[in-house]
Amino acid sequence: MSIGIARLAYRLPTHKRSIDQLEKEGRINSPASLLSDFGFKNCYIQEKTAKSPDLLLESAKEVASGIERDSASRIFLYSGINSYFEKDNNKENALELFQYPVAKLRHALELPKANSLAISQQGCSGLLSAIDIAYHLLKSSHEENESILCATVDVLTTGTKREIMYNVMSDAAASVLITKNSDKNRIVYFHQQILPYYWDTPLHENELLASYFPMAQRAIESALWGAGLKISDIKWFVPHNVSLRSWEILAKLLHIPMERIWTNNIARVGHTVSSDHIINLVDMEQEDALKKGDYLLLFTFGFGASWSCLILQH
């Protein structure tokens, strides 16, 4: 049994803005020059029109295409943004409150046996946690040919600024298929450090900024220890696409060269709440950066607050 991420896909909106345009439109808090120094260039924004592509459905369809329909035992749909599952609550007809996006996704994907469930509220850590849950479910299952689809979608509400704590935020969706007999991306170890006191993000913004690096260092070192690996065993650090500067600091803190961190998408896409790692992994694969057997360390921080590490073997 080699439980791993067998398939993965992502979608970005077609509408792209530069950080200079965002600044002119008053959609960032910091000067564009600062965000540029921090490594950002672009931002993808999902427009609310009938013609806008369904990012979630498209990414999920790509990973689900061609699989045995009965093999998918579960669908986990994650969003780190509260409003995704709570929009338009002001309905006259109470039944309209029960139009579940995850049920719609299951229907669209034609996966009749998949127990579908939406999960939320772990910020950027959510998809990695969903993958960890999927891993444990598959590990304890006796079915030979079983898979779990984890999908994530984060679209900021109209009017929300496109910067969070000095990071440029894009909309995106990503999906992964976790299978029992994956020929790549074997799930080696997942570790999460949590600080529940920080649950009130606006109230604890500065404490979060201050604790980010020591907690990140602790989470990564604990994950490596748990996996029985040394930091030098990791071929690639797959980041969440937050500021390049923060990765430069973390790289020095961990004594790793920047060349081992896949930072190409920080400028191109920016940060997307919970799709970053999948966007990066897909691009790394397409650019032939990954070799069989490479250890990959996916790290992220999620509001709530959690610092998460997922170690894969490609």
Binding site: L195, N206, E207, A210, Y212, F213, M215, S246, I249, K252
Partner: protein
């Protein structure tokens, strides 16, 4: 940093008039208040012998009226110069004005005192700046540079005093970082290490430059004051310099972070539930990169926090040991009687929390 404590010992132990130079700024404090600040009982004897003189060390003749200045030059036989700015973040010209020009003006007063017998100068062990390794008491001049303008200006003051060494007997007391009273935990002067603990308490301490095994030399205010008093009043050695430091039994940087978290949790159990992470111990370039990012991001709270640490924290990158040969030769029981920082660290932390780092009495 221990001016109050030394003044208190002098008033209590010397049968002589004590002239206390108070900064001329603001209204003249009454003697009762001064006695209270010096933690002295309001005794008639103390009130009579304690003479308050208003002045400003940065001004020629200490900015005093001619008659007042003359009164000092006629009567004063002993001077201890403890007036200084201990701020680490002053521009060098401002630091020089107080710590170098101020020392020059006090030294000129001593030179003008017809009956001067001895001059004591409170300096810092960190005039050694960015030097590493063993720092001898007899050593002064170096080209290693300084971490902050406090170190530099006190170094320059010591250099300046060499010009007066033929005019009157000088003894220099280089203090380590004065942390608090070993018996009560009281802090009369909150400085960078207290602010560092405050940052930990507020959950804003992200990282500190240095190495885990760096020896953080902290000394108690009461023991430092009594040591200076003993050296100056009972065992004056002209043209000698003394390192008054904690030495080998100091906390390491890692230990002091651990101990701070432990003592903060004891003093405020609710605080411990927050589980703030301990700051990472990082190299100088990581700290600078983080500092530059915070500055660029213009985050006022983190910027203020890091500025408070920045001007002293880099000293943690220059490990050193302070030789105390002169000190031990004069006070052989110094080490034996030295209060252990491990024993009173918690009292100081409790005092910091109780007074909100000096904001409330």
């Amino acid at each position: 940093m221990v001016g109050r404590e030394i003044s208190s010992l002098l008033v209590q132990n010397i049968e002589a008039d004590i002239y206390l130079l108070i900064h001329e700024q603001g209204s003249s404090p009454d003697k009762e208040k001064i006695l209270s600040v010096l933690s002295l009982p309001d005794k008639k004897e103390f009130r009579e012998r304690l003479k308050i003189v208003k002045g400003d060390v940065t001004k020629p003749k200490l900015g005093m009226e001619k008659g007042d200045y003359q009164g000092l030059t006629d009567n004063v036989t002993h001077i201890i110069h403890a007036a200084a700015s201990t701020r680490f973040d002053l521009p060098i010209e401002e630091a020089r004005k107080i710590n170098v020009i101020g020392t020059k003006n006090v030294a000129l007063l001593a030179k003008n005192c017809s009956r001067i017998r001895q001059f004591g100068f409170l300096s810092t062990a960190y005039i050694s700046g960015k030097r590493t390794g063993e720092i001898k008491e007899k050593e002064l001049e170096h080209t290693a540079g300084f971490v902050n303008t406090y170190e530099q200006s006190k170094y320059e003051a010591e250099i300046l005093l060499k010009d007066f060494s033929n005019d009157f007997p000088i003894s220099i007391y280089r203090l380590s970082t004065v942390f608090g009273d070993s018996k009560t935990g009281k802090v009369s002067h909150f400085i960078a290490p207290h602010q560092a603990v405050r940052m930990m308490y507020l959950g804003l301490a992200s990282m500190l430059p240095g190495t885990p095994d760096y020896s953080v030399d902290l000394i108690s205010s009461n023991y430092t004051a009594s040591t200076v008093f003993n050296l100056y009043w009972k065992n004056f050695k002209p043209n000698q310099t003394f390192h008054i430091t904690h030495g080998k039994r100091s906390f390491t940087l890692k230990e002091i972070i651990d101990e701070s978290y432990k003592q903060l949790a004891v003093a405020d159990p609710e605080w411990s539930l927050r589980n703030y992470p301990k700051p990472a111990i990082v190299s100088g370039d990581v700290f600078d990169l983080f500092m530059n990012s915070v500055t660029a991001a213009n985050n006022p709270i983190l910027q203020k926090t890091l500025n408070a640490l920045n001007h002293f924290a880099h000293q943690l990158l220059y490990p050193k040991r302070f030789d105390r040969s002169n000190l031990i030769a004069v006070l052989p029981n110094y080490e034996k009687n030295l209060p252990s920082i491990q024993e009173y660290y918690g009292k100081v932390i409790q005092y910091c929390i109780k007074t909100k780092w000096g904001k409330i009495q």
